[in-house]
Amino acid sequence: MAAIELVDLKREFRQAKRFDGPFGAVRTLLTGEYTTRTALDDISFAIEPGESVAYLGPNGAGKSTTIKILTGILVPTSGSVRVLGNEPHTHRQENARQIGVVFGQRSQLWWDLPLIDSFDLHQRIYKIAPARFRANLAFCEEVLRMEQFLHTPVRQLSLGQRMRGELAMALLHEPDVLFLDEPTIGLDVLAKDRIREFLKLVNRERGTTIMLTTHDLRDIEELCERIIVVNLGKLVYDGRIAALRERLGSERTIVIEFSDDPGTVEIPHATLVEDRGVRKTFTFNRAEVPALDLVAALPRNLAIADISFEEPSIEEVIRRLYRSMETDGPDKEEIDTWTRGQVVTQ
């Protein structure tokens, strides 16, 4: 049984119509018209237990709406949703016991009280047996190094410490599924690393299914092998990162180190990106000319000391994906066909 399963999930919102112009204010007052906005348009995917999935999309794509439906906050307009066999909105409390939720931008901790108090309350709410609670707390305390600030009021904690606390609390009741909505937002590099390490550990050792929305692409690289991308309410990509990178990342970088500065160098099929005398960086399109062919076509008279290739970062890949979703150029069509193919095979 899949941990999370969505089939043709649709969610529409109604908004009161606003009128412009000098009498606009009066018209808004008098009429009660609405416009309908489709936030989610027939989204379908399934996540198996133990998977760690990144849920991406530009702002307004429908990410938060999906998470809200999965956690039982919102009700879908149509379609089916199941989390660990439960329908979240009809079995909200049951679902709540089996999932953990961390909101990156909204705290669930008690602001003025020591961190441990929030944990204690959590234990009582979720009716966690004392022994299990202590064991889980000890585990989180150790991995996240929380002993120093466990008894500090939450308002005095740094953002990194607070996020660690939120994360620990969400796992105290050993949920099978963990939802994270931008968990590393605003954190410094060290804090982000700690959070990622912890999540990896939890996913590996406890088999907790993780679904994470984020704008930080390093999060994805570290934590998830599979990404699901939505845009304007529609599913755009669902599959392995490696595959996406391979397809979209047809641009490659080649860095050549020369024995001596050869001055201006022209390489067929490649564009100069950076010239540091002895060390020059070029880009080329791997689809047009394979790497080996490029190397074979290098001018013979050049005294080359070293050659290295660089892969495009996941950031670059996603950026190209987003850009393709905006423009309607030939690129987009190509990518559309290909990603749709990916969705089917997955």
Binding site: A25, V26, T28, L29
Partner: protein
């Protein structure tokens, strides 16, 4: 100058969006008057007490309620919020004189509430309960001046409380306490004539009587010309003093904010 006029318009339109609120404000005003009229009917009925008749008290109630509606102010709660959150820094940067923008915003809201809350309430109240015309033009003039003074004093008091609240981080409580003092010493429900001597003397010394009792009594012609003059003079002194303190506190807050960096 045009900028400020435009801001009044904008403030007016901003308030226009909240349609349901308008009906409720009117309803609140009418209910206040209804309660007072019922109480005075039960207490005075056909008689006259201390020379005051029921229709006198009805007029008193209407005038006070209408003034209270006109003075209902929420921009100062916003001011406190903005000071606390630091958003005020943004306001201070803008090329407008901030306190003036507050006044202008208040004017926009007053315009809106005048059209949609105050006048309708007045009309309904007069329709249901009757009203007394002022005794003479002098009374009308006196009332207008008293009303302006009342607005100024009300504004100044709200400002002071807001700023004090900022120092003590307890605006809500201070406003509540201010409301309490107002209830007791402004004579909104019970005119100061009916107060026992001790309280009456105390009330005369405080600025609150200029918010309700003073203007209402002036309108009704229950004060002689000399008394009107004295009352206005005292009110003007209070207004000047309170506004002055406000100005001084505001300067200090700004300096403090600038020094502390919000």
């Amino acid at each position: 100058m045009n900028v400020y006029v435009a801001m009044i318009g904008k403030s007016y339109r901003k308030h226009l969006v909240y349609r349901s609120e308008v009906w409720v404000r009117i309803a609140i005003g009418v209910v206040w008057v209804a309660i007072q009229v019922a109480v005075w009917t039960a207490l005075i009925g056909e008689d006259e007490v201390d020379g005051i008749s029921l229709s006198d008290m009805i007029t008193y109630s209407i005038v006070n309620t209408v003034m209270a509606l006109a003075m209902m102010d929420r921009s100062l709660a916003e001011l406190d919020q903005r000071i606390r959150s630091g958003d005020i820094a943004v306001d201070l940067i803008k090329p407008f004189h901030y306190p003036l923008t507050l006044v202008v915003d208040g004017m926009g809201r007053s315009l809106f509430s005048a059209l949609f809350s105050v006048l309708p309430t007045l009309a309904i109240a007069i329709l249901f309960f009757g009203f007394q015309a002022p005794a003479s033009p002098v009374n009308v003039l006196g009332f207008v001046v008293a009303f302006v003074l009342a607005l100024s004093i009300s504004f100044a008091l709200a400002c002071l409380v807001g700023m004090l609240g900022f120092y003590f981080l307890a605006t809500f409580h201070f406003q509540w306490a201010l409301g309490a003092l107002r209830t007791l010493f402004a004579g909104t429900m019970v005119p100061l004539w009916f107060y026992p001597d001790g309280l009456r003397t105390l009330a005369n010394l405080l600025p609150f009587q200029h918010l309700a009792f003073g203007p209402a009594a002036t309108w009704m012609g229950e004060l002689t010309r000399a008394e009107i003059g004295r009352n206005l003079g005292l009110g003007a002194l209070w207004a000047a003093a309170l506004l002055g303190i406000c100005w001084w506190m505001w300067a200090r807050i700004v300096r403090r904010l600038v020094v502390q960096g919000g």
